[in-house]
Symmetry: C2
Subunit: 172 residues, 2 copies
Amino acid sequence: MERELLLLGLLRRENMHGYKLNEFIERDMAACMDLKKPTAYFLLDKMAKQGWISMQETREGNRPPRRVYKVTAKGEMEYQRMLRQNLATFSETKFPGDVGLGFADDLAPNEVLLLLAERRAALAARLDELSTVPEHRGALQLIVSHQQFHLETELRWLDQVIAQFKVKAKSS
Amino acid sequence: MERELLLLGLLRRENMHGYKLNEFIERDMAACMDLKKPTAYFLLDKMAKQGWISMQETREGNRPPRRVYKVTAKGEMEYQRMLRQNLATFSETKFPGDVGLGFADDLAPNEVLLLLAERRAALAARLDELSTVPEHRGALQLIVSHQQFHLETELRWLDQVIAQFKVKAKSS
DNA sequence: TTTTCCATGTAACTCGTTACATGATTTC
DNA sequence: GAAATCATGTAACGAGTTACATGGAAAA
């Protein structure tokens, strides 16, 4: 549902064809949203069938024709509905990496430390990568800064976990 | 993959039948892991076919027969492999709720505040609920405390966002 | 001239969920 | 006698991904 919301939200700002949308999402939203190309095309088709968006084919010279979408009145209503619902809802987060942590006692503390160092490096790299993302205007920037905030706290938490295992490693 | 890891990790501690496993996961892991019953049964079947676990049917009185699983030598190797991989890997987190936030400018600040208040209440309730979860022994407790830590920081972040919109609401 | 870019998709597949099915047994 | 618990699953569905397909135009 947040995928439709994203597409409508972007189309509302500027009528676009699928390729351009995909490009924008890949380039500027990669940090926070993963929406693959075929999924985007599929959703555009679906929303067009539902009458949320209308499509017009344009062609420039001999280039492949573009299907430019724009949000209809019905789509606008759906957008507002989904946006309000999304804002009012808290959706929980799962951490797949926690499962391993839960069983970390099954390995020697020293090996856990080595493995967690690897994890930490990946997390730090991700955080670093995020700082190179260009600024967005308005509220879109909130998404990036949330990611940043989250990764920073995750890093702090991981360091605290690592410290715990360091203690265990010493006493063994 | 973390689902298999979870099942193997639990079975390694104590041989169990599917029902008991599901019960444990529902009761004690609900906070952090959602693994539905049919999925668990399916994965147990799959892992048995792969030779990671062996099954023995037992029956007590006239009760429905139990299929008790235990981890094989091969399963133990897989477990160790997956555990190490999981510990060394950092997996990113997506926040579906951020999409709406990114488009929050499309609504009046006062309405955004109302909606975010709802979201905040749900988040606070979740955090409250989590504090009633019984303590786990050993590293398993890490999972719960991570959730707690994460929800607390999320709450702080959300409050900061709300504060931003309060400023906007005043100046309009 | 070969690669990359523009622009669209389809088909097959995986993973997981929901809803349903079964049947005995203890509890209310 | 009805409802919840024990114990196992199957079948159908949905959402999303990967890999593949197409074909012209611009850039290297």
